[in-house]
Amino acid sequence: MTSLTINGPARLVGADINTDYIISSRRKRVTIDPDALQLHIFEDYNAEFGQSLKPDDIIVAGKNFGCGSAMEVAVTVVRAAGISCVLAPSFARAYYRNAINNGLLPVICDTSSIQEGDTLSIVSEGNDIHVTNTSRDISIGAASLSSMMIEILKTGGLTEYLRKHGDFPSEI
């Protein structure tokens, strides 16, 4: 099983961040192109924060990240901003699935000790994920992923997975 390491600075958002805060649903009536939508990321939550996001940032949230609408642009817009990992103590499940399907790694872990700008290192190895706050030398326990999720992430997302396999296996 391949291992994957992501390093970057923590960018903090609050609890119960809904998908409309990530990208307002009124934006997607004009385009669903993530590169175009990315210009408006987090605008109804905190436009300044959205504009300050940089590729390789790691979004660190409170509980229930991605609640509200199941709209998938709320994941593709984060990917388009160059971000490949979100940490939260819990995710709304549609967001969690959409993340996996688009190659955004959702990590369920206690985020309370992480401060804005801390350097984080996330290593995924087999089904397990290890989170280290290297700024504070703290290692944080994270929930592991199911084999199906790993398969999808490893292949590069659900599109690539189904392109390659054409179907789901009968047992997973």
Binding site: R29, F91, R93, L158, I172
Partner: protein, 430 residues
Amino acid sequence: MPSSSVTPATISEKILSAHCGRECRAGESVVCKVDAAMATDGSAPMAIDYFNKMGGKKLAEPQSMIFALDHYAPPDNPATVELQDRIRRFSEEQGNTLYDIGAGIGHQLMIERGHVKPGQLIVGADSHSVAYGAANVFATGVGSSDLAAVMLTGKLWFKVPESIRVTLTGKLPNGVDAKDIALEINRTLDPAEASYRTLEFQGDGAASLTFEERMLLTNMSTDAGAKAGVFAADATTTAYLNAGDDVGVAVHADKDAVYALDLNIDLDQLTPRLARPPVDGAAAEIVGIEQDLGTPVDMVYLGTCTGGRKSDLERALNVLRTGGTKHKRVQLIVTPASDRVYSDLATEGMLAEFIALGALVMTPGCGSCCGTCGTIPGNEKVVMSAANRNFTGRMGNAKARVYLASPEACAAAAITGEITDPRTFLEAQQ
């Protein structure tokens, strides 16, 4: 399917077992055959893109793939028209069901037009697809990529959820609504606890609810943070679905089924609630209506997949009739959930009453709910809405303040121009 040799199961576990071809229990991952799937103009264009990229040529089950143009009904700019046209072209090619602008909200149409039967497994590319659980269905919201997987294969993988047993006892008092039950659940239940779990509604209180009240509770189970919400099937279900010969396969929870959590609500004790506009991006605070009485209201919204059905509009009108007139400051918007609801209002004379009150009656569909079509509230304006969520910016203006309440409480505010306990009007009636 039920056999005495297997461990007791919840409704969710039974429906998923029946669709993956083996007995499964909470925590397992399974691949299931999906009976029907729905996408809206908000999610279908992206699903079509994923489907094409997956190498899709033909829908696996065109007869059970339903598209509804409801979020941008009608559209207000050429780019949106083009997104909708892509859906129309795709459906034309594939031969699947398409409900065009004006037919209504996809969730309402799924139930109204007979796409939903007890015992089924249904997904929709919209979070409120959980609503079909009222019909004893395991239904959950998915993103466009998962929907595309269903388009391609007719299947999807699921993690079998644990369930929370929500026991309702007693009967709703006059002027207290299923909406108040939903708000009470959302007030009590931490979304982190509800997450990845099904709310299974039980008890004599659940059995006493009408089908439309049950739909409200399953609809808003996603706003509680749950994966699904489900009721058992009974005579109320059969009568409402009017499904013809194929009445589905009713599924009941086993007596000793294992639940992750118990939540009990005594309907007799329930009072009207409100979800306050969120402050600084936090979740909406839910309080008893008595805490905010007198707050001036500028707009009242009756509609959505939560509060736009015939019974909702009927109950609101009942309060409005008692008041006699609408407060002149208040803009009253009525958006029927479907064309059928609209035409029922017309034939039963309610439409004329709403118009006489000065209501703006809008195209059936999502309307003002998520700010993508319909009327938008002004800066600093206060809205009382029968909808399910009120995130900042939700109705198209991040500077408006949206309260959520029952249709009766919305109607009471339309009369007085301020937050008002609807029971004052209903008591006056008796």
